[in-house]
């Protein structure tokens, strides 16, 4: 063929015009959400895009909306296990209305799927197992440890900084040094230390779409769902310089919370139920290389109604004996929102949203569904389910005492009301006290034996004392009204209680939050609680992690010691008029651990404070405070040394006079 003819042939050649709409759509979604993916240098595109492609084009999904309680339950019982996969499928399909596609995309919030979780990132309770005396994580229930970002065993400090878990020789402070680092790809949510075993909970950064992607035709495209993975990693740290990974257990789903009782770590994970092409997903557990799908026959169901179903799986892992297989219990529930764990039981709660005749959500009929799982070492059993009116604030709103479960709730509606319920172990209500502080909302609660303390708030802070000695007749004993409120209540002793919250200024219909406030109440005369001492730190704009996370709180009665991280803000009074001063936000002037002497006789006295921010010019840049790695997050003591911990370093000071001893830089 001549050159010219050949060129003509090429020019006239009909080249294929082929499109792959599925790939186009999947890649588009991937790219738009790229920032949310784990950044890997080499992509296995087939793997990355396959689940997206599969989900994108699936229009029926979950939407699950169970608005009629008692509609259909297998066997008619409240609690049971499914007899087959078909039954599970049938149960979901019958109960679910497919009315609504419900992925609650709430901005950049990582916890998408529920009013979810105890968002608290959890350090150990004071256990004096050696000659040294050291502080543990501030926990709710004695003997039930809560995972945190910092733990100590009195000799070493284990802490999470970025995606590293760092082991630091802490004692003696003069020789403090980093011994080893464990670097993981995912986010370490919390850790436990138990003898020579370090337990890490890692959450693989999941794919969370957050853009509202619309196609050209403006038809809404449903977001794909890729389940995040939660890993439980147990390390042998007998050689602190060389931690060795002993076991790895993983499961699909979002880490909700964990506890450690004795040798056992219990982890609660949520995974939504979704359907693809008529097939429902089932939870999966991997132990080492072995992957196992939890069969429908092992899954419990209960009489629940929620927008959507979730598999709540509790995994029990023996932290000391690697030969013992982990055990698990899976319950088909709604989105667990709170969890309380005693030494014998795990209580899961989630809100039950009421609906009106049109299926619209209404506040009035809101209830909380409660589920009890009995635990004893590796044995777990789902034993009871019940319901109370109102909504549970957090784990401190719940308690178990002498075979009764007590819970404080707030009922929203035209007028909010607050209630306390006592339930037996079958989770039937035996006694209730309803309608406390109409118009107010519970800000904090604490149960102490036969009493409960409740702080409700709207403009002022009433502290209620409730008698629970008779489980059938909870009774209001008295209350105290003071300004401000408490977000966290901590027992000082049986007749005194510490409150941590904010000062407020009454503004008629509402109140302006002011500085961080610490109060000490005397409740020995239950009918007349008395404020014996209080301290306000900073002005409006001051903050403390304790207000959201009790694990940041360090208290030791024997040492008269209270330590908490505070960001102190000050208002420049020359900038504002008198009227403006109540609402003016202060500029951050200090962040660090504030140490107080606390006693009944002398009340609260500031002993001193410690900061990790050495450069005073940084103080002028307000934003610095909120993102700085030098923000102190936790504090602990070993003997007479106070250790303050930020992402950037551990600083050691003498506990009595706060003299500087040493510091260890953490490579973040």
């Amino acid at each position: 063929m001549k050159y010219e003819d050949f060129v003509k042939k090429l020019e006239n050649l009909k080249a294929p015009e082929i499109e792959l709409p599925g790939h186009k759509q999947a890649l588009r979604m991937f790219l738009l959400n790229y920032g949310r993916f784990k950044q890997k240098t080499i992509m296995n595109w087939a793997k990355v895009l396959a689940p997206i492609a599969a989900t994108v084009l699936l229009i029926t999904f979950v939407g699950i909306f169970v608005d009629m309680p008692g509609r259909l339950y297998p066997g008619g019982n409240q609690i049971g296990k499914f007899s087959s996969y078909e039954q599970l499928q049938n149960f979901i399909k019958t109960n679910a209305g497919y009315k609504q596609f419900y992925w609650g995309f709430s901005g950049g919030d990582v916890r998408l799927f529920s009013g979810s979780a105890e968002s608290n990132i959890p350090v150990p309770a004071a256990i004096d197992d050696s000659a040294t005396d050291y502080s543990g994580t501030n926990i709710q229930v004695a003997g039930v440890d809560e995972a945190d970002i910092v733990k100590t065993d009195g000799k070493y400090i284990y802490l999470v900084s970025g995606n590293k878990t760092i082991i630091v020789q802490a004692d003696p402070p003069e020789q403090a040094q980093v011994l080893s680092e464990i670097e993981l790809e995912g986010t370490v949510i919390g850790i436990f230390i138990n003898g020579d075993r370090l337990v890490l909970f890692e959450q693989e950064t999941p794919y969370y779409p957050y853009y509202d992607v619309r196609s050209e035709s403006d038809e809404k495209i449903y977001m794909p769902y890729i389940s995040p993975k939660t890993y439980i990693k147990v390390y042998d740290v007998s050689d602190r310089a060389n931690p060795r990974l002993q076991r790895e257990i993983s499961t699909n789903g979002q880490y909700i919370s964990s506890r450690m009782i004795g040798d056992y770590a219990y982890v609660v994970v949520n995974e939504p139920v979704y359907e693809q092409e008529d097939e429902l997903n089932l939870p999966e557990i991997s132990v080492g290389e072995e992957e196992k799908e939890i069969p429908a026959e092992d899954i419990w169901y209960s009489n629940v109604s929620d927008y959507y179903y979730m598999y709540t799986t509790i995994i029990a892992v023996n932290t000391q004996n690697d030969g013992q297989e982990p055990t698990y219990e899976t319950i088909l529930l709604g989105a667990s929102s709170n969890l309380y764990v005693s030494t014998d039981n795990i209580y899961l709660t989630f809100p039950v949203w009421g609906t009106d005749v049109l299926g619209r959500e209404v506040w009035d009929s809101q209830k909380t569904s409660i589920h009890r799982i009995h635990i004893d070492g590796q044995t777990m059993e789902y034993v009871a389910s019940g319901e109370v009116p109102g909504m549970v604030l957090n784990q401190f709103s719940m308690d178990e005492y002498e075979d009764y479960f007590r819970v404080a709730t707030t009922t929203h509606g035209q007028t909010t009301k607050n209630n306390v319920y006592v339930l037996n172990m079958a989770l039937n209500i035996t006694g209730s006290l309803e309608g406390l502080a109409p118009g107010e909302t519970i800000y904090s609660a604490r149960f102490m034996g036969e009493r409960a303390y409740l702080v409700t708030f709207k403009q002022v802070d009433p502290l209620f004392v409730i008698d629970l000695s008779d489980p059938r007749h909870p009774e209001e004993l008295g209350y105290l009204k003071v300004t401000g409120y408490s977000d966290y209540l901590h027992p000082y002793d049986e007749n005194h209680i510490i409150g941590v919250g904010k000062e407020t200024t009454d503004a008629g219909e509402f109140a302006w939050y002011q500085g961080v406030k610490i109060s000490l109440f005397d409740v020995s005369d239950v009918s007349k609680p008395v404020l014996i001492s209080d301290r306000e730190i900073g002005d409006r704009g001051s903050e403390s992690p304790v207000l959201h996370d009790h694990k940041a709180f360090l208290f030791d009665k024997a040492r008269n010691l209270l330590v908490m991280p505070i960001l102190e803000a000050k208002v420049d009074v020359t900038k504002y008029s008198e009227a403006e001063l109540v609402w003016a936000y202060g500029e951050p002037v200090y962040q660090g651990a504030y140490l107080f002497d606390i006693s009944i006789d002398n009340g609260l006295q500031l002993r001193g404070r410690i900061t990790h921010i050495d450069d005073p010019s940084a103080l002028e840049q307000g934003y610095y405070y909120y993102y700085s790695p030098f923000l102190i997050e936790r504090s602990l003591y070993i003997d007479d040394v106070l250790y303050t911990i930020s992402q950037a370093k551990i600083k050691m000071n003498n506990l009595e006079n706060l003299d500087y001893i040493n510091e260890v830089k953490l490579s973040t």
């Binding site: 063929m1 009909k14 599925g22 296995n44 396959a50 992607v213 693809q276």
Partner: protein
Amino acid sequence: MDLSEEKELVRQAQKAPDAFAKLYDQYYPKIFGYVLRRSANLEAAQDITSETFLKALRKLWQFQWRSVSFSSWLYKIATNEVNQYFRKAEYKKSVSLEELQEQGFEPISPHNPESELIEAQEKLKQHQDFMEIQEKIVQLPAKYQEVIALRFFEKKQIKEIAEILGKREGTIKSLLHRAIEKLREAE
């Protein structure tokens, strides 16, 4: 989309990744088509296209209008990716459908990747003339493959090819001439 609109979009996309969507919608068919016509392999074309757009997204902040147009820039990335694909055997291997299935990928109907692929595969087979010559083109060195594909299948002007490949127009002309000669010899 005219050039000024595209410029504006690129500027936006450099700041807010969601503006990238419009650019993507505009160019996906072109880039996918180009890559497929060069590789004649549907699976590979998906991966290379994915890689191309991901690289584009990641490197968008580096992109500057004055050197090349956005379109040429995309073709340039795609061209590099295709060449890399031909260099690396494993590139091909990692995306076979069989392997996909071994990995537990179960395509679903009706609009799923597998049925989509099967359908596309059928269409591709119908282009017998193209496939015959394509087989020969891929035997040529990459520098010849590029110019032939861009000139005859993508219908690009010499000026544009020069921009994509980062070579002078004269170089493109002589490359093209030699490429056609080589291919004709192979016929």
